[in-house]
């Protein structure tokens, strides 16, 4: 039995404008339900892909402490993904399993989480901190004003853990960026390669979708606003570490938006995305985890693999 229903679109809109929270058993308008579902599924997919990416580094991270960090992060992100898939499944009337099938089959929207895949350890160090702080900026923004109660509660529960990820990521970035000349060069090269994908991870500047999500009070501000604020905070931080960013002198304007859209298409393209997700999910665990065998000690500290 629906707990609440709204007699007209105007009635629902004024309920949202007054800061009302929609709950799962309310009879919400269908467009609202679809928009909330897409938003939560996208976030859940991002958490799952981040967990898979972290899992791949459990075996390869240089040193036991860093392996433990990768493992703990993967566990956190799996937990976030699972609770978000539940929120989404309750909205969409399906099961958690069907949402995973959708992800593996490449249905639905490209997941920006694909951008977390990283080539070498230096990129991993850069992406772990910057992608997490970017995700935190987005999640904080949504958590301030999201009108869908179950999603907002899930966000508020996971924010402290995301903050911890950002903090441990910053320590690693600082150690590498202020390390040996070789480490510093590797980190700078990684920033150069990953900067545009990081900007892309905020999502495209899709005015129509932003407007819809904002109209439903599901997000507080457009993607571009969160991204620009994050850039304004992050560039000085990298500057302190002696790192430059490719976009230093160029405002994130129209041409940068086009570049971001291209990167999303390229990195989160349907074929490549589904292949990676399918491979990652089909493999039950790293052989290293199965055998608990020692990894070759060849990996150096910090910026080298």
């Amino acid at each position: 039995m629906p707990r609440r229903r709204w007699t007209s679109p105007g009635h629902f809109a004024s309920f949202l404008d007054a800061g009302g929270l929609v709950e799962v058993d309310d009879e919400m308008p269908d467009p609202y339900r679809r928009a909330a579902f897409r938003l939560v599924v996208r976030h859940a997919n991002g958490e799952l892909l981040a967990a898979l990416a972290d899992r791949d580094w459990v075996a390869k991270a240089p040193g036991l402490r860093l392996k433990m960090v990768a493992l703990a992060r993967a566990q956190d992100e799996l937990g976030h993904a699972r609770s978000l898939y539940r929120v989404a499944a309750d909205l969409g009337g399906g099961t958690d399993g069907r949402l995973l099938d959708d992800l593996v089959a490449g249905r639905g929207r490209p997941a920006e989480g694909i951008l977390r895949r990283s080539g070498d350890w230096a990129e991993r160090v850069v992406v772990d901190h910057l992608a997490d702080s970017a995700a935190l900026a987005v999640q904080r923004s949504i958590a301030t004003r999201c009108s869908y109660g179950p999603y907002r509660r899930a966000l508020l529960a996971m924010l402290p853990e995301e903050e911890a990820h950002v903090a441990v990521g910053l320590t690693r970035l600082q150690r590498a960026a202020l390390g040996t000349p070789r480490q510093r060069l590797a980190i700078q090269a990684a920033v150069d390669r990953r900067w545009q994908p990081l900007l892309a991870s905020f999502g495209p500047d899709d005015a129509a979708e932003d407007d819809e999500l904002q109209r439903w009070r599901l997000i507080a501000e457009p993607n571009a606003a969160v991204r620009d604020r994050w850039v304004a905070q992050t560039v000085p931080l990298l500057d302190e570490l002696g790192l430059s960013t490719p976009e230093r002198d160029v405002a994130v304007g129209a041409e940068a938006d086009a570049e971001v859209a291209r990167l999303i298409d390229e990195a989160a393209g349907r074929r490549q995305r589904t292949a990676w997700v399918r491979r990652a999910m089909a493999r039950p665990a790293d052989p290293w985890v199965d055998q608990v065998a020692p990894v070759s000690a060849g990996a150096g500290a910090g910026g080298r693999r």
Binding site: D76, G79, R82, S83, R86, A89, T95, P150, A157
Partner: protein
């Protein structure tokens, strides 16, 4: 697959709180998944899992205090008594209960009648 609602008691005097839900094939798997989802940092000292289908969800008639039960709020009357006579120096032995009749306006008994006349009985 069954959907379980997850309740967690943080510690000490805290009450059980709903923290989310999980989907699992068996009670045992549900316990493991609840642990991995909601207790990774030992966020609680007690955990309840309740099958969603077993949750009783009464309608608004049960939840909200009807207007006829407003007296339960015990927040007094809207026209408090006003002192009209000076404080007596001593008790008059002929009037064992001087306070009652000194109330301006209606007495306690009248107030009870007003409330009862509004609507249904308990």
């Amino acid at each position: 697959m069954t959907i379980y609602e997850v309740f967690l008691k943080r510690d000490g005097l805290a009450e059980f709180r709903h923290v989310g839900s999980i989907e699992a094939a068996t009670d045992e798997l549900a316990s493991v998944l609840a642990r991995e989802c909601y207790l990774r940092r030992s966020e609680g000292d007690r955990l309840w899992l309740v099958r969603r289908s077993d949750v009783i969800d009464p309608d608004d008639g049960v939840l909200f205090l009807p207007a006829t039960r407003a007296r339960r709020l015990l927040d007094g009357w809207d026209d408090p008594p006003v002192a009209t006579a000076p404080m007596p120096d001593r008790l008059d032995p002929d009037r064992p209960d001087p306070g009652r009749s000194d109330h301006a306006g209606r007495s306690d008994d009248a107030g009870d009648r007003d409330q009862a006349s509004v609507g249904a009985e308990d």
